[in-house]
Every structure is written in C-alpha cells, then in structure tokens.
C-alpha cells in the first residue's frame, strides 16, 4: 500500500517545486507584480 500511495508523489512534489519555487521566483521579477 505504501508503494501505491507514493505513486504520483514525485510529479506532485516536483510540480510544486517548479511552479512555486522556480516559476514563482521568475514571475516575481516581472514588472506586473509591482504595486
């Protein structure tokens, strides 16, 4: 069961890392985020 539960975990965690950590930081540099 544990193996089954871990399925999909890599894509989920990597997705969060890429979109929040990497893309989020790059986006924050764009001028549209300035108040």
């Amino acid at each position: 069961m544990l193996t089954t539960e871990r399925r999909g975990g890599v894509s989920f965690m990597l997705g969060l890392l890429l979109f929040i950590g990497v893309a989020g930081r790059l986006d924050a540099r764009l001028p549209w985020n300035k108040p």
């Binding site: 975990g9 990597l14 990497v22 549209w32």
Partner: protein, 186 residues
C-alpha cells in the same frame, strides 16, 4: 496523489495569472493544489486513503478524500487559504483553490462527498472522466498548453521581454514535465 490530476491544475492557475496580474504566481500555484497539499499529510496519517483499481495507474483510483475533497471541506479550505490575502486577491485565491474541486469533479469516479466525512450519507459526486484516461490526459495537456500560452503572452505584455520569455518557457516546461512524469507513473 496517486497519479491524480496535477498538471491540469497548474495550467489553469497559469491562465488565471494572465488576467489577475496583481496576484503572485506562487500564490496561485499553491492555491490550485491547496486541497491536495492538505490531503498529503492526511493520507500519511491514514485519515484519507487511496484505493487503486486494476493495479493502479493514471486515473485508476478511487480517492477517499472525504474531508479535503468534500464540497463543504473544499469551500472551507479555500476560505482558510484566502484569509491570508485581502481584497480582490483574496477572492481570486479562494476561487482558484476551489477550482481544484471543480476540475476533480469532472474526472473523479463518484467518490467526492458533499459534506466532510460524508456526513448524512448523500450520494458521492464525480463524472468519472478517468474511465477514459487518454481523453483526460489530452484535456490536461490542453490546460497546460492553453494556460501557459495565456501566461506567456500576458507576461510579454508586461514589457520585460527577456524575463517574460524565461518565465513563460519555465511555466510551459514545468507543466509538460509534471504531466509526463504523472503519466509515466512517478
């Protein structure tokens, strides 16, 4: 998580950023996965669980997420996350968080209750698009492609061409990598 819809939610959030430019991208990305972010510790604690079908695989699962993916639970969790923002950003974060439930409703196999812990025993919801995994994967791909395209185009309109191209390419690539890994069973 179990090879659920992952990339599609990110793609949707990228598209939202194109219209709601005052809301940080990271916040939209967190919001679109917020229900699953809360689901993971509950899964590890055994409060919520997964029931693989036919040995598992993309979409081959009944998800017993009776707290985080109940209609009322999703509304409450969305309101909780939204409480960290003010004004329009709060509404946008709440809506994007709740969009997770709506997108899941399309694909889940009638396993989403109305009330937390399926109180009252009402019929569970889910249109079951996962019975056709190829169609679901194509829709996820379309969400990633369309959402990334909207984001990229809007980012270019912000005036910083090089930074916009980098951010747009990373959003698109992240979506494609996430979807490919998910379909491959990782």
């Amino acid at each position: 998580v179990e090879q659920a819809v992952i990339a599609g939610h990110f793609g949707f959030a990228a598209g939202v950023k194109a219209r709601e430019r005052a809301v940080p991208l990271w916040a939209l990305m967190l919001a679109c996965q917020w229900l699953d972010v809360v689901f993971v510790p509950l899964l590890l604690l055994g409060v919520e669980r997964l029931e693989p079908l036919d040995g598992g695989g993309y979409g081959k699962v009944i998800i017993h997420a009776d707290w985080t993916h109940s209609l009322l639970g999703a509304l409450l969790l969305s309101a909780l996350l939204g409480a960290f923002w003010r004004g329009r950003a709060r509404l946008v974060i709440e809506a994007v968080s709740f969009s997770h439930w709506v997108l899941d409703l399309i694909v889940h196999r009638a396993d989403m209750p109305l009330l937390p812990a399926n109180a009252g025993g009402f019929p569970r919801l889910g249109f079951g698009l996962w019975r056709w995994p190829a169609a679901t994967a194509l829709i996820e791909l379309a969400l990633v492609a369309f959402g990334s395209a909207l984001y990229w185009r809007a980012a270019l309109g912000s005036g910083a061409r090089r930074q916009a191209n980098l951010a747009g390419a990373v959003v698109l690539a992240s979506g494609l990598v996430t979807l490919a890994l998910n379909l491959a069973g990782f």
